[in-house]
Amino acid sequence: MNSAANPLARPEILREPISSAAFGIVEKPLSTWERITNVGALRKFALLCVLAVIWEVYARSLSNPLLFPTFTATVDAFVKGLLGGDLFTKAVTSLRVLLVGYAAGIACAAILTVVAITSRIGTDLLELLTSMFNPLPAIALLPLALIWFGLGAGSIVFVIIHSVLWAVALNTHSGFLSVSNTLRMVGRNYGLRGLPYVGRILIPAAFPSILTGLKIGWAFAWRTLIAAELVFGVSSGSGGLGWFIYENKNQLEIPNVFAGLFTVIVIGLIVENVVFRVVEAKTVRKWGLQS
């Protein structure tokens, strides 16, 4: 009743913490199942299996290998193509052209963005060029490229550069602009200017955006490459994956067509989930710039 008279008057409470030995779990290892489901790669693999089963069931119910071969037939054609056929050499040819174009596109983007970040007229130039050329489909330049560089790898590299350059440049530039002012001042405080400043402060600080640009550029490069190869082989006799798909369609070897598409998908999965994943883990995740 005393507390009712003065509700605010409360005694002090003092307690001694109990030794942790007196109660149960402080930390406990996760169960095997919890640890397995925590691995992202395994979850994705499970999804892939489900998709493969759906494909198999649908193709079998359709039962028309000319329109839609089964998953097992595609894998069979894929493995045969890799081991005995020319699928492997075609994929290597495509990848080689792709990497040359991709690297050249990134180099052009690097030059353009460094010019853009160091001068106002450079910024204007970059903004103008990107707004002009970014919406232009790379494949639309192919006829022109054929006239300039002839029937061969040169033309394809040219259109790949076009498809990579603007995506990478745009993302890198917007990444540079979003670097915090404090970090900029820190860099200049160290006496850094010009290229060392860009290389040692701006690029790492803008890396999340740059990485996004690289991923988009990679996807654009693939699309452009396959589309261009569908029109003609990289060079006579040794075409790439697009040419492989086109040839097999003409011969009604539909499982091989699917195997060609399958190769593009597999390479895409590997690059996205292995190459870019490792780069992310070693950079932006490790630095806490991205969760």
Partner: protein, 265 residues
């Protein structure tokens, strides 16, 4: 403690900056001298241009009139002889560990080769009690620890003058007091020169050896006082605090008085 020539001489410095539609005068003809081993405080309410003044000493902006001289040479651009500690926690490079963050300016300015820079970095990391975290990345540290790394980074360069822009303002009260004590202990060890911006009068009295009071809109020198020794008793500190408070806010009280009576009616 005064040498013949001051380490840092600020003479009649007027600073202006442009916003979208105004030209703002941040400080007007400010003079002061900082001597070696001073703990010199720029104190004033918000809007008195104290941070702008620090940025000008850092070389990030040019005075419209007047000049800033460090060891007799005019300050024209940022440089590692005036290391800066910012208020923000994001001043550490996220892509480098604590040790690499402290090493980086030593190497980037070409002052020391890798091995020597590493030894010096570890020495200063030990001084701020972060040896256990030397290989951690900044995003795993607390706010107070990040500021200690930033201070270690500034001190490891052994700059002519350490510029600190409200480095403890974003910390909680307990951590702030601890950091103030640590800063004084570090100063006892190496007697570096520091130019420290704050808007907290108790912090100025505690940390400073010399205090410059600035009035707002635009910042002008109101007074330059000696502070108390860190061992002075609380009563003396309260007297000085009251004195500074009345000097800084005497005008402000008069200005707002009519409004206040109006609000009470």
């Amino acid at each position: 403690m005064t040498d013949a020539a001051p380490l840092l001489a600020v003479r009649g410095v007027t600073l202006q900056y442009k916003t979208k539609d105004h030209l703002v005068t941040a400080t007007y003809r400010v003079d002061f001298d900082v001597h070696r081993s001073d703990r010199f405080i720029l104190l004033g309410p918000s809007g008195c241009g104290k941070s702008t003044l620090l940025k000008a000493v850092g070389g990030y902006m040019k005075p419209v009139e007047g000049e800033i001289r460090l060891k007799g040479e005019a300050v024209t651009r940022p440089g590692p002889d005036r290391m800066m500690v910012f208020q923000e926690f994001d001043q550490l490079l996220p892509w480098r560990t604590v040790k690499e963050n402290v090493m980086f300016p030593l190497q980037a300015s070409g002052r020391l080769p890798r091995k020597a820079a590493e030894a010096k970095a570890l020495e200063y990391i030990a001084k701020v009690n972060l040896t256990a975290f030397a290989d951690s990345f900044p995003h795993t540290l607390s706010g107070g620890m990040k500021q200690r790394v930033a201070i270690a980074r500034g001190m490891a360069m052994e700059p002519d003058i350490l510029l600190m822009d409200e480095p403890f303002a974003a910390l909680d009260a307990l951590t702030r007091r601890k950091m103030q004590d640590e800063l004084l202990a570090l100063w006892e060890g190496t007697r570096f020169t520091v130019l420290f911006v704050t808007h907290s009068i108790p912090e100025a009295i505690k940390i400073g050896s010399r205090i410059l009071l600035l009035s707002p809109h635009p910042g002008q020198v109101k007074a330059e006082l000696d502070s108390l020794s860190p061992t002075a008793d609380g009563a003396a500190a309260r007297v000085l605090e009251q004195r500074i408070h009345s000097m800084l806010f005497a005008d402000a009280v008069e200005e707002t008085a009519p409004e206040r009576t109006g609000a009470h009616v």
